[in-house]
Symmetry: C2
Subunit: 202 residues, 2 copies
Amino acid sequence: MTRASVLDRAAALGSVEGLEVLSIGRLADQLGLSKSGVIGHFGSKEQLQLAAVEVGIARFRKEVWEPVARSEPGLTRLRLLAEAWLSYLERDVFPGGCFLTAASLEFDDRPGVVRDAIASAWRQWLDLIEHDAATAQARGELAATDLTPSQIAFQLHGYVFAANWARRLWRAPDAIDEIRKAVARLLAPAGPSQGLGESGDE
Amino acid sequence: MTRASVLDRAAALGSVEGLEVLSIGRLADQLGLSKSGVIGHFGSKEQLQLAAVEVGIARFRKEVWEPVARSEPGLTRLRLLAEAWLSYLERDVFPGGCFLTAASLEFDDRPGVVRDAIASAWRQWLDLIEHDAATAQARGELAATDLTPSQIAFQLHGYVFAANWARRLWRAPDAIDEIRKAVARLLAPAGPSQGLGESGDE
DNA sequence: CCTACCGATCGGTAGG
DNA sequence: CCTACCGATCGGTAGG
C-alpha cells in the first residue's frame, strides 16, 4: 500500500531531519512518486505529519509496550518495560533515534493537531509507567519508598531521554549501558540488601 | 550593534522553531532589515547558525556557570550549579526553552560545524559537572558512593532535560519543582541520615 | 546597510 | 496515481 510506505518513509526521515524540514517533493523523489502522488493521500502537509506521528506511536507501542504488556503488573513489568524501551533505542528502530522524542521537541512550541497528538501520547505513556510504579510500591516491591509514582516515572523518562540524546549527539553507543545502571538503581527491589551492591543486570 | 541584535533574535527564534526552519527573510522582517542586511554579516545561513549557537553558549555560561563558578568546588558548587541550571529554565531565558538543547536534537543527525560546536559545548559542560562530582566524592561529601562521577553528571543532565521537556510540551510549570526533588536525592550529602527523609529544600 | 534580482524549491491544485 | 502549473518563499548575489 502506497500510503503506508509514504508514512514509513516520512517517520524515518522525520526522526532524522524533522517533520517540518521534510518536504513533500523530496519524499516523493525518494519513493519514486510524484508530489501529488504523495500529498493526495493526506490533503495537506499537516495531515501527513499527523499520520506519520500516529505511525510512530503505533510503532513505539509494538516495539516497547506489546512485548511486556502481558507480564506481571508492578515491579516486574516496570523493569521489563524500561529494558524494552532502551532496547528499542539500541536497535535503532528509527534511523534518527526515537521519532516521538524528536517530534516532541520540534512541535512543543508549534500549536496544532500534531503537537496535541504527540503531547497526549507521551502523557499516556508516562501515566502507564506511573501506574505500574504505584502497583509496585503498594506491593512493597520497590526499594525507593521516598519517591512518588509520578516522580519514578518522570525520572525514568529523564534517564531514557539522556541515553537517546547522548547516543545521537555524540554517537556514544555505551550511553545506553550507562543508563541501564541508573535504571537498575531507580527500580531496585526492596529487601535487606536494598538492591545495591549487585550487578544491576537481570 | 546590528550583528548582535540579529544573533539575539536568531537564538530566540531558534529556541522556538528551530535553526533550520528559521529563514533569513523572516528574521529580516522581524528586525526591520533587508535580507542582505542580515546575511551580509555572516556570508551564509550556516555561519549565521554557528554564530547563534556561540551566542547561546555564551548566554548559558553567563546565566548558569558564572553565578556559581567562584563557590566551593565539590558538592557545594554541584548543588548550586544544578539549581542555577533549573532556574535558567524557570526564568525562560530563551522563549522556547533551552536553546542548546533544542539545537542539539535538531542537529544531531546533521553533520557540520554547527553540530560540532553544539556537541563540543555539551561535552565540556558534562565534563565540568563530572569534575565537581569527583571532587565531592573524593571528599566524602556525597551519599551516593555507588555511582561514578560520569554517571552522576549524566543522570543530573537527564533530570534537567526531562524538566525542560515537560515544561515545553505540557506547559507544566511544576515540572521543575518535581526535578528539584530528584536532584536533591541524587546529590544528597553523606551523613548518618543519608540525606533522606528531609524536605529536600536548601 | 539598501534595491533588485537569480534559479531552485516550497505546499498545494486543476484536470485527467 | 500522473503532468503541468500556481503564487510564495527560499538562500544567496550584484551593484551600489
